[in-house]
Symmetry: C2
Subunit: 219 residues, 2 copies
Protein backbone atom coordinates (compact mmCIF):
# COMPACT_ATOMS: atom_id res chain seq x y z
CA UNK A 1 0.00 0.00 0.00
CA UNK A 2 1.22 3.47 -0.87
CA UNK A 3 0.68 6.13 1.77
CA UNK A 4 -0.06 9.80 1.05
CA UNK A 5 -0.22 12.38 3.83
CA UNK A 6 -1.68 15.85 3.42
CA UNK A 7 0.28 17.91 5.93
CA UNK A 8 -0.78 21.30 7.24
CA UNK A 9 2.41 23.32 7.70
CA UNK A 10 0.76 26.22 9.52
CA UNK A 11 1.21 29.96 8.89
CA UNK A 12 4.92 29.91 8.00
CA UNK A 13 7.03 29.76 11.16
CA UNK A 14 8.64 26.26 11.27
CA UNK A 15 8.22 26.42 15.06
CA UNK A 16 4.44 26.13 14.55
CA UNK A 17 4.65 22.73 12.85
CA UNK A 18 3.21 19.89 14.94
CA UNK A 19 5.42 17.06 16.15
CA UNK A 20 3.42 14.70 13.92
CA UNK A 21 4.01 16.83 10.83
CA UNK A 22 7.76 16.97 11.54
CA UNK A 23 8.00 13.21 12.05
CA UNK A 24 6.10 12.42 8.84
CA UNK A 25 8.18 14.92 6.82
CA UNK A 26 11.43 13.48 8.20
CA UNK A 27 10.35 9.91 7.42
CA UNK A 28 8.78 10.54 4.02
CA UNK A 29 10.26 9.04 0.86
CA UNK A 30 8.91 11.85 -1.33
CA UNK A 31 7.81 15.41 -0.62
CA UNK A 32 5.19 17.08 -2.83
CA UNK A 33 4.65 20.82 -3.01
CA UNK A 34 2.77 23.27 -5.20
CA UNK A 35 4.85 24.85 -7.91
CA UNK A 36 4.75 28.64 -7.58
CA UNK A 37 7.53 29.44 -10.04
CA UNK A 38 9.80 27.10 -8.09
CA UNK A 39 8.88 28.73 -4.76
CA UNK A 40 6.53 27.42 -2.10
CA UNK A 41 5.81 28.71 1.40
CA UNK A 42 4.82 25.30 2.80
CA UNK A 43 8.12 23.88 1.54
CA UNK A 44 10.08 26.78 3.07
CA UNK A 45 8.37 26.07 6.40
CA UNK A 46 9.28 22.38 6.26
CA UNK A 47 12.85 22.96 5.01
CA UNK A 48 14.61 22.53 8.40
CA UNK A 49 13.27 18.94 8.47
CA UNK A 50 14.01 17.90 4.88
CA UNK A 51 17.26 16.02 4.37
CA UNK A 52 17.75 14.06 1.16
CA UNK A 53 14.12 13.24 0.37
CA UNK A 54 13.04 13.65 -3.22
CA UNK A 55 11.06 16.89 -3.74
CA UNK A 56 8.45 16.92 -6.49
CA UNK A 57 6.68 20.11 -7.59
CA UNK A 58 3.11 19.87 -8.86
CA UNK A 59 1.57 22.43 -11.21
CA UNK A 60 -1.77 24.04 -10.39
CA UNK A 61 -1.75 27.17 -12.55
CA UNK A 62 -3.70 29.99 -10.83
CA UNK A 63 -7.11 30.44 -12.45
CA UNK A 64 -6.49 27.63 -14.95
CA UNK A 65 -6.76 24.59 -12.69
CA UNK A 66 -9.38 22.13 -13.97
CA UNK A 67 -10.38 18.55 -13.20
CA UNK A 68 -7.67 17.27 -15.56
CA UNK A 69 -5.04 19.28 -13.62
CA UNK A 70 -5.95 17.47 -10.40
CA UNK A 71 -6.05 14.07 -12.13
CA UNK A 72 -2.59 14.64 -13.63
CA UNK A 73 -1.17 15.73 -10.26
CA UNK A 74 -2.53 12.57 -8.61
CA UNK A 75 -1.10 10.47 -11.45
CA UNK A 76 2.32 12.02 -10.85
CA UNK A 77 2.01 11.41 -7.09
CA UNK A 78 0.97 7.81 -7.71
CA UNK A 79 3.89 7.21 -10.06
CA UNK A 80 6.42 8.81 -7.72
CA UNK A 81 5.54 7.01 -4.48
CA UNK A 82 6.87 3.44 -4.61
CA UNK A 83 5.12 0.43 -3.09
CA UNK A 84 5.09 0.60 0.70
CA UNK A 85 6.58 4.08 0.52
CA UNK A 86 5.10 7.27 1.88
CA UNK A 87 4.73 10.74 0.40
CA UNK A 88 3.82 13.99 2.12
CA UNK A 89 1.95 16.78 0.34
CA UNK A 90 2.76 20.06 2.08
CA UNK A 91 -0.01 22.61 2.31
CA UNK A 92 0.03 25.97 4.13
CA UNK A 93 -2.27 26.39 7.12
CA UNK A 94 -4.57 23.40 7.50
CA UNK A 95 -5.51 20.89 4.77
CA UNK A 96 -9.25 21.30 5.47
CA UNK A 97 -9.22 25.09 5.01
CA UNK A 98 -9.29 26.27 1.39
CA UNK A 99 -6.60 23.79 0.28
CA UNK A 100 -5.61 22.56 -3.16
CA UNK A 101 -4.86 19.17 -1.61
CA UNK A 102 -8.53 18.49 -0.82
CA UNK A 103 -9.68 19.70 -4.25
CA UNK A 104 -7.23 17.21 -5.71
CA UNK A 105 -8.14 14.14 -3.68
CA UNK A 106 -11.88 14.83 -4.00
CA UNK A 107 -11.91 14.48 -7.79
CA UNK A 108 -11.73 10.69 -7.85
CA UNK A 109 -11.47 7.68 -5.52
CA UNK A 110 -7.98 6.25 -5.10
CA UNK A 111 -8.43 2.86 -3.46
CA UNK A 112 -4.82 1.71 -3.77
CA UNK A 113 -3.59 4.85 -2.00
CA UNK A 114 -4.03 5.28 1.73
CA UNK A 115 -4.70 8.99 2.33
CA UNK A 116 -4.44 10.67 5.73
CA UNK A 117 -4.30 14.32 6.77
CA UNK A 118 -2.49 16.07 9.60
CA UNK A 119 -3.98 19.33 10.90
CA UNK A 120 -1.96 22.55 10.90
CA UNK A 121 -2.36 25.96 12.54
CA UNK A 122 -4.48 28.14 10.24
CA UNK A 123 -3.20 31.68 9.62
CA UNK A 124 -6.32 33.27 11.17
CA UNK A 125 -5.64 31.49 14.47
CA UNK A 126 -1.97 32.45 14.45
CA UNK A 127 -3.18 36.00 13.82
CA UNK A 128 -5.63 35.97 16.73
CA UNK A 129 -2.88 34.68 19.03
CA UNK A 130 -0.51 37.39 17.76
CA UNK A 131 -2.95 40.19 18.65
CA UNK A 132 -4.12 38.40 21.83
CA UNK A 133 -7.79 38.76 20.85
CA UNK A 134 -10.40 36.03 21.25
CA UNK A 135 -11.75 34.47 18.07
CA UNK A 136 -14.67 33.37 20.23
CA UNK A 137 -15.55 33.58 23.88
CA UNK A 138 -18.47 31.70 25.46
CA UNK A 139 -21.64 32.13 23.38
CA UNK A 140 -19.89 33.81 20.43
CA UNK A 141 -20.38 32.86 16.78
CA UNK A 142 -17.38 33.03 14.46
CA UNK A 143 -17.47 33.21 10.67
CA UNK A 144 -14.64 32.30 8.27
CA UNK A 145 -14.81 33.45 4.63
CA UNK A 146 -12.55 33.92 1.63
CA UNK A 147 -15.10 35.91 -0.37
CA UNK A 148 -16.43 38.95 1.48
CA UNK A 149 -19.24 39.56 -1.01
CA UNK A 150 -21.10 36.50 0.27
CA UNK A 151 -20.46 37.33 3.93
CA UNK A 152 -23.46 38.06 6.16
CA UNK A 153 -22.41 39.65 9.46
CA UNK A 154 -25.92 39.86 10.94
CA UNK A 155 -25.77 36.84 13.22
CA UNK A 156 -22.07 36.58 14.01
CA UNK A 157 -19.82 38.12 16.66
CA UNK A 158 -16.44 37.75 15.00
CA UNK A 159 -15.10 37.07 11.52
CA UNK A 160 -11.88 36.16 9.69
CA UNK A 161 -11.63 37.23 6.06
CA UNK A 162 -8.92 35.63 3.93
CA UNK A 163 -7.75 36.76 0.48
CA UNK A 164 -8.61 40.38 1.18
CA UNK A 165 -6.44 41.98 -1.50
CA UNK A 166 -8.98 42.48 -4.27
CA UNK A 167 -11.90 44.18 -2.52
CA UNK A 168 -10.24 45.67 0.52
CA UNK A 169 -12.19 48.97 0.32
CA UNK A 170 -15.53 47.19 0.07
CA UNK A 171 -14.62 44.80 2.90
CA UNK A 172 -13.62 47.60 5.29
CA UNK A 173 -16.83 49.48 4.40
CA UNK A 174 -18.90 46.42 5.20
CA UNK A 175 -17.10 45.86 8.52
CA UNK A 176 -17.59 49.51 9.50
CA UNK A 177 -21.27 49.52 8.52
CA UNK A 178 -21.80 46.48 10.77
CA UNK A 179 -19.83 48.10 13.65
CA UNK A 180 -16.99 45.59 13.58
CA UNK A 181 -13.52 46.59 14.85
CA UNK A 182 -10.81 45.16 12.61
CA UNK A 183 -7.16 44.14 12.55
CA UNK A 184 -5.22 43.68 9.32
CA UNK A 185 -2.51 41.04 9.77
CA UNK A 186 0.19 40.55 7.15
CA UNK A 187 2.72 37.69 6.98
CA UNK A 188 1.62 36.36 10.36
CA UNK A 189 4.30 34.43 12.32
CA UNK A 190 7.15 35.76 10.12
CA UNK A 191 9.82 38.15 11.39
CA UNK A 192 8.32 40.97 9.29
CA UNK A 193 4.75 40.33 10.55
CA UNK A 194 2.72 43.54 10.29
CA UNK A 195 -0.44 44.40 12.26
CA UNK A 196 -2.53 47.44 11.33
CA UNK A 197 -5.84 48.90 12.52
CA UNK A 198 -5.85 52.23 10.64
CA UNK A 199 -7.95 52.15 7.47
CA UNK A 200 -5.61 54.27 5.34
CA UNK A 201 -2.53 52.33 6.41
CA UNK A 202 -4.29 49.06 5.60
CA UNK A 203 -5.34 50.30 2.15
CA UNK A 204 -1.70 51.19 1.43
CA UNK A 205 -0.63 47.58 1.99
CA UNK A 206 -2.87 45.09 0.12
CA UNK A 207 -0.37 42.25 0.56
CA UNK A 208 -1.19 38.79 -0.78
CA UNK A 209 -0.28 37.07 2.51
CA UNK A 210 -2.72 38.98 4.67
CA UNK A 211 -6.04 38.54 6.46
CA UNK A 212 -8.55 40.56 8.43
CA UNK A 213 -9.80 39.65 11.90
CA UNK A 214 -12.82 41.61 13.06
CA UNK A 215 -15.17 41.64 16.01
CA UNK A 216 -18.48 43.32 16.76
CA UNK A 217 -17.85 46.44 18.85
CA UNK A 218 -18.97 46.18 22.45
CA UNK A 219 -20.94 49.40 22.93
Amino acid sequence: MKKLYGIGTGPGDPDLLTLKAVRLIENADVIFALNNKGKNMALDTAKPFIKDQKIVFLDFPMGQTKTITYLKAMEKIDQTIGDNESGVFLTIGDPMIYSTFMNMINVKRYDHLSIECVPGIPAFLAGANAILKNVVEKGDRFLLVDDAEKMNLQDVDSVAILKTVKDLDMILDKLEENHFDYYYIQRVSFDDQLILTNREEILNQRHYMSLLLARKSKI
Copy 2:
Protein backbone atom coordinates in the same frame (compact mmCIF):
# COMPACT_ATOMS: atom_id res chain seq x y z
CA MET B 1 9.97 40.86 33.78
CA LYS B 2 7.85 37.80 34.42
CA LYS B 3 6.70 35.91 31.34
CA LEU B 4 3.37 34.11 31.03
CA TYR B 5 2.54 31.97 28.00
CA GLY B 6 -0.95 30.75 27.16
CA ILE B 7 -0.30 27.51 25.30
CA GLY B 8 -2.81 25.74 23.09
CA THR B 9 -2.23 22.02 23.59
CA GLY B 10 -4.52 20.90 20.75
CA PRO B 11 -7.18 18.18 20.83
CA GLY B 12 -5.41 15.71 23.12
CA ASP B 13 -2.82 13.72 21.15
CA PRO B 14 0.65 14.92 22.34
CA ASP B 15 1.81 14.41 18.73
CA LEU B 16 -0.34 17.41 17.74
CA LEU B 17 1.52 19.86 19.97
CA THR B 18 3.57 22.42 18.04
CA LEU B 19 7.36 22.52 18.35
CA LYS B 20 7.02 25.96 19.98
CA ALA B 21 4.59 24.66 22.60
CA VAL B 22 6.90 21.75 23.44
CA ARG B 23 9.95 24.02 23.76
CA LEU B 24 8.13 26.50 26.03
CA ILE B 25 6.73 23.70 28.22
CA GLU B 26 10.17 22.08 28.55
CA ASN B 27 11.80 25.41 29.47
CA ALA B 28 9.07 26.73 31.77
CA ASP B 29 9.72 27.26 35.47
CA VAL B 30 6.07 26.73 36.40
CA ILE B 31 3.17 24.98 34.67
CA PHE B 32 -0.39 26.14 35.28
CA ALA B 33 -3.46 24.05 34.55
CA LEU B 34 -7.17 24.15 35.31
CA ASN B 35 -8.20 22.09 38.30
CA ASN B 36 -10.85 19.57 37.25
CA LYS B 37 -10.86 17.48 40.39
CA GLY B 38 -7.09 17.05 40.01
CA LYS B 39 -7.44 16.02 36.35
CA ASN B 40 -6.76 18.10 33.28
CA MET B 41 -6.68 17.10 29.61
CA ALA B 42 -4.25 19.84 28.57
CA LEU B 43 -1.86 18.68 31.29
CA ASP B 44 -2.19 15.04 30.18
CA THR B 45 -1.32 16.13 26.64
CA ALA B 46 1.78 17.98 27.80
CA LYS B 47 2.89 15.26 30.25
CA PRO B 48 5.57 13.68 27.99
CA PHE B 49 7.42 17.04 28.06
CA ILE B 50 7.13 17.87 31.75
CA LYS B 51 10.13 16.91 33.86
CA ASP B 52 10.55 18.46 37.28
CA GLN B 53 8.72 21.74 36.69
CA LYS B 54 6.37 22.90 39.42
CA ILE B 55 2.72 22.23 38.50
CA VAL B 56 0.10 24.59 39.93
CA PHE B 57 -3.63 23.91 39.60
CA LEU B 58 -6.01 26.86 39.35
CA ASP B 59 -9.66 26.66 40.38
CA PHE B 60 -12.39 27.82 38.00
CA PRO B 61 -15.50 26.07 39.38
CA MET B 62 -17.93 25.26 36.54
CA GLY B 63 -20.85 27.73 36.55
CA GLN B 64 -19.49 29.62 39.57
CA THR B 65 -16.56 31.43 37.98
CA LYS B 66 -16.81 35.20 38.54
CA THR B 67 -14.51 38.20 38.09
CA ILE B 68 -13.00 37.54 41.52
CA THR B 69 -12.15 33.96 40.47
CA TYR B 70 -10.08 35.25 37.54
CA LEU B 71 -8.40 37.91 39.66
CA LYS B 72 -7.45 35.33 42.30
CA ALA B 73 -6.05 32.98 39.65
CA MET B 74 -3.91 35.78 38.20
CA GLU B 75 -2.74 36.68 41.70
CA LYS B 76 -1.65 33.09 42.25
CA ILE B 77 0.13 33.03 38.88
CA ASP B 78 1.87 36.31 39.67
CA GLN B 79 3.02 35.05 43.07
CA THR B 80 4.26 31.73 41.67
CA ILE B 81 6.34 32.98 38.74
CA GLY B 82 9.60 34.45 40.05
CA ASP B 83 11.35 37.47 38.53
CA ASN B 84 12.73 36.68 35.07
CA GLU B 85 11.03 33.30 35.21
CA SER B 86 8.43 31.96 32.80
CA GLY B 87 5.17 30.16 33.37
CA VAL B 88 3.00 28.31 30.86
CA PHE B 89 -0.76 28.09 31.20
CA LEU B 90 -1.96 24.99 29.36
CA THR B 91 -5.27 25.21 27.59
CA ILE B 92 -6.92 22.59 25.35
CA GLY B 93 -7.33 23.40 21.67
CA ASP B 94 -6.34 26.98 20.95
CA PRO B 95 -6.17 29.86 23.49
CA MET B 96 -8.34 32.14 21.29
CA ILE B 97 -11.21 29.64 21.03
CA TYR B 98 -13.55 29.55 24.03
CA SER B 99 -10.68 29.51 26.55
CA THR B 100 -10.62 30.25 30.25
CA PHE B 101 -7.14 31.72 29.78
CA MET B 102 -8.43 34.65 27.73
CA ASN B 103 -11.34 35.29 30.14
CA MET B 104 -8.75 35.47 32.89
CA ILE B 105 -6.26 37.84 31.25
CA ASN B 106 -9.03 40.10 29.91
CA VAL B 107 -10.31 41.05 33.36
CA LYS B 108 -7.52 43.50 34.17
CA ARG B 109 -4.28 44.92 32.72
CA TYR B 110 -1.09 43.29 34.01
CA ASP B 111 1.73 45.61 32.97
CA HIS B 112 4.48 43.85 34.91
CA LEU B 113 3.66 40.52 33.25
CA SER B 114 4.60 39.88 29.65
CA ILE B 115 1.81 37.74 28.17
CA GLU B 116 2.11 35.80 24.91
CA CYS B 117 0.01 33.05 23.38
CA VAL B 118 0.92 30.06 21.24
CA PRO B 119 -1.75 28.69 18.88
CA GLY B 120 -2.90 25.08 19.10
CA ILE B 121 -4.91 22.77 16.84
CA PRO B 122 -8.61 23.25 17.65
CA ALA B 123 -10.67 20.06 18.07
CA PHE B 124 -12.96 20.94 15.15
CA LEU B 125 -9.97 21.05 12.79
CA ALA B 126 -8.56 17.77 14.10
CA GLY B 127 -12.06 16.36 13.53
CA ALA B 128 -12.27 17.60 9.95
CA ASN B 129 -8.87 16.08 9.22
CA ALA B 130 -9.95 12.79 10.81
CA ILE B 131 -13.00 12.49 8.54
CA LEU B 132 -11.11 13.96 5.53
CA LYS B 133 -13.85 16.52 4.88
CA ASN B 134 -13.23 20.15 3.99
CA VAL B 135 -14.17 22.75 6.57
CA VAL B 136 -14.17 25.20 3.66
CA GLU B 137 -13.36 25.03 -0.02
CA LYS B 138 -13.04 28.11 -2.26
CA GLY B 139 -16.01 30.46 -1.73
CA ASP B 140 -17.38 28.61 1.32
CA ARG B 141 -18.46 30.26 4.55
CA PHE B 142 -17.78 28.43 7.83
CA LEU B 143 -19.49 29.07 11.16
CA LEU B 144 -18.19 28.08 14.60
CA VAL B 145 -20.55 28.10 17.60
CA ASP B 146 -20.81 26.70 21.12
CA ASP B 147 -24.49 27.56 21.52
CA ALA B 148 -26.68 26.12 18.78
CA GLU B 149 -29.71 28.18 19.77
CA LYS B 150 -28.09 31.34 18.45
CA MET B 151 -26.84 29.65 15.26
CA ASN B 152 -28.19 30.93 11.93
CA LEU B 153 -27.41 28.49 9.10
CA GLN B 154 -28.97 30.59 6.31
CA ASP B 155 -25.80 32.11 4.88
CA VAL B 156 -23.18 29.48 5.70
CA ASP B 157 -21.94 26.33 3.94
CA SER B 158 -20.42 24.47 6.86
CA VAL B 159 -20.56 24.60 10.65
CA ALA B 160 -18.80 23.24 13.73
CA ILE B 161 -20.86 23.00 16.91
CA LEU B 162 -19.04 22.53 20.19
CA LYS B 163 -20.56 21.57 23.55
CA THR B 164 -23.35 19.59 21.94
CA VAL B 165 -24.33 17.48 24.92
CA LYS B 166 -27.26 19.46 26.28
CA ASP B 167 -29.45 20.09 23.25
CA LEU B 168 -28.35 17.34 20.90
CA ASP B 169 -31.91 16.56 19.70
CA MET B 170 -32.64 20.20 18.91
CA ILE B 171 -29.27 20.64 17.16
CA LEU B 172 -29.75 17.60 14.91
CA ASP B 173 -33.29 18.80 14.09
CA LYS B 174 -31.95 22.19 13.09
CA LEU B 175 -29.21 20.67 10.92
CA GLU B 176 -31.70 18.39 9.18
CA GLU B 177 -34.20 21.21 8.59
CA ASN B 178 -31.44 23.22 6.91
CA HIS B 179 -30.32 20.19 4.84
CA PHE B 180 -26.92 19.86 6.50
CA ASP B 181 -25.14 16.46 6.56
CA TYR B 182 -23.47 15.89 9.90
CA TYR B 183 -20.67 13.97 11.60
CA TYR B 184 -20.53 13.48 15.36
CA ILE B 185 -16.91 13.22 16.52
CA GLN B 186 -16.07 12.10 20.05
CA ARG B 187 -12.64 12.25 21.72
CA VAL B 188 -10.97 13.31 18.49
CA SER B 189 -7.28 12.32 18.16
CA PHE B 190 -7.48 9.80 21.05
CA ASP B 191 -7.16 6.03 20.55
CA ASP B 192 -10.87 5.62 21.29
CA GLN B 193 -11.95 8.37 18.86
CA LEU B 194 -15.51 7.70 17.69
CA ILE B 195 -17.13 9.02 14.51
CA LEU B 196 -20.88 8.64 13.96
CA THR B 197 -23.34 9.81 11.29
CA ASN B 198 -26.47 7.93 12.37
CA ARG B 199 -28.89 10.06 14.40
CA GLU B 200 -29.94 7.34 16.86
CA GLU B 201 -26.35 6.25 17.49
CA ILE B 202 -25.35 9.86 18.10
CA LEU B 203 -28.20 10.41 20.56
CA ASN B 204 -27.05 7.35 22.49
CA GLN B 205 -23.62 8.92 23.09
CA ARG B 206 -23.87 12.54 24.29
CA HIS B 207 -20.24 12.57 25.42
CA TYR B 208 -18.79 15.73 26.94
CA MET B 209 -15.72 15.62 24.67
CA SER B 210 -17.60 15.71 21.39
CA LEU B 211 -18.46 18.05 18.55
CA LEU B 212 -20.55 18.13 15.40
CA LEU B 213 -19.24 19.00 11.95
CA ALA B 214 -21.91 19.64 9.34
CA ARG B 215 -22.07 20.77 5.75
CA LYS B 216 -24.87 21.87 3.45
CA SER B 217 -25.92 18.93 1.25
CA LYS B 218 -24.94 19.28 -2.39
CA ILE B 219 -28.18 18.47 -4.18
